[in-house]
Assembly symmetry: C2
Amino acid sequence: MRLWGGIEAGGTKFVCAVGSGPDNIVASTRFPTTTPAETISQAVAFFAAEATHYQIAAIGIGAFGPADPNPASSTFGYVTTTPKPGWNQVNFAGAVQRELGVPIGFDTDVNVAALGEQRWGVAQGLSTFVYLTIGTGIGGGIIVNNQRLHGLMHPEVGHMRLPHDWVQDPFPGNCPVHGDCWEGLAAGPAIAERWGTPAEMLPPDHPAWALEAHYLALGVVNLILTLAPERVVMGGGVMEQRHLFSLLRYEVQELLNGYLPLPAVTETIDGYIVPPALGSRAGVLGAIALAQEVSGTVGW
Amino acid sequence: MRLWGGIEAGGTKFVCAVGSGPDNIVASTRFPTTTPAETISQAVAFFAAEATHYQIAAIGIGAFGPADPNPASSTFGYVTTTPKPGWNQVNFAGAVQRELGVPIGFDTDVNVAALGEQRWGVAQGLSTFVYLTIGTGIGGGIIVNNQRLHGLMHPEVGHMRLPHDWVQDPFPGNCPVHGDCWEGLAAGPAIAERWGTPAEMLPPDHPAWALEAHYLALGVVNLILTLAPERVVMGGGVMEQRHLFSLLRYEVQELLNGYLPLPAVTETIDGYIVPPALGSRAGVLGAIALAQEVSGTVGW
């Protein structure tokens, strides 16, 4: 049986799977992200063992960043300037390719998750959309005209600058580089630090959520104005608080103030800003979708 | 001789030209934008007269917006929900096509100017970049992976929300829809209203320019973080103040604070944030480039 491998390479854990789509995963594993040597070896060992049962046509990798997703670059497939100990300038895709001898697809974790949602989730049939993850940081995968956006590197939307009313919210932000950028104000750790309580412990009627919806809406509005996405998919730990979606949608409409003549925004926003259909599996399934793209086969 | 027509359809004036590129414009004209009937007729009459001398293979239009640049849409080629009297829901491209019987390319003025800079200006060889115009408003044309970005409509980057320090700058912004969005704080009319003097009358050492560079940098930084453009081209009346570029580049570096490992930003920013090479001709030349694209011929 011809299948594909996917690696969701996060900063804290790796998820690896073999299969052809959401309904056909024949094997999977997860383990903590430690040193590159140890972690990449564990991934390789998993796929090598599975390869005795299945033909693995290609492997897709969705990696934490900064990373180099440009196939024309000499450092394609590297995790590049990450502060994560040991991972600086590591040839991740090259190591996997050398050990397993199959074609490797490589992109950022968020671009790969976007691809998963486009193949099997809420972005099916869309050609221009955004996939955001709001968790320990804020990241965005962007697909424009059916192609993943890389540009000079890859998007880093979590570091956008947004209005911050210091009277309403004296919390200075906790991004070590920028202070009160989007992620410094609105990622999970910012919520926890501002209120002295982990985000998941704050009740739905806590004022934390109206403020959070406000900050999320500011960033989403800027992305809508820049990319005119056909849909905005929002996942990650913070968005598990599903009550956030209605607050956020309302704030987006308020901020845009009717400026964009888009019924998707002004009338049917419930279907415009949505959670991912694949949930926490978007990453590893997207990696399988990327592997299918790389091997020239779409597995459905 | 086989040539192409271009229309730069601005909110205040139209520029029309016939030619094949910057070094070969055989005829051009400009006239104020009045009613759609009158203005479109003037453009049609110009091309009809030129068509007695030259074969015009196609006409490209770069239009003020909001407009519909999506060829698959039933309102493709329309100026849509503009507040400009008489122009609401006008089938601009259709009218020109009907009268002249040639293929018509249609996009926003800024996407078309971006195309011009890509064909003949400072964006040659780039596949992902931004063209901004800072004038009576702020607009952005975006090309990603060599394709113009439209999404659900087209970018409207001028309405992004940015940090606004009300103590440092009590001016509330003058966008009629959003108040202190990017264009409400930093377009030409905002400068004039804040300081009580037209922007072009303010001397280079006036504090207006440091504040302007700060606001421009905030928006540019958000675009860099979202699109990872290979270059940022900045034209329009306000950018005629060339001293703004060095202030702005410095502010961009300060705001990014070394976060992006991009030598283009950290080391060679003088070549990264640049004025357009085609200057005020970017629009009409881009329209000719679009016409060439539409007629399946690149005229160089």
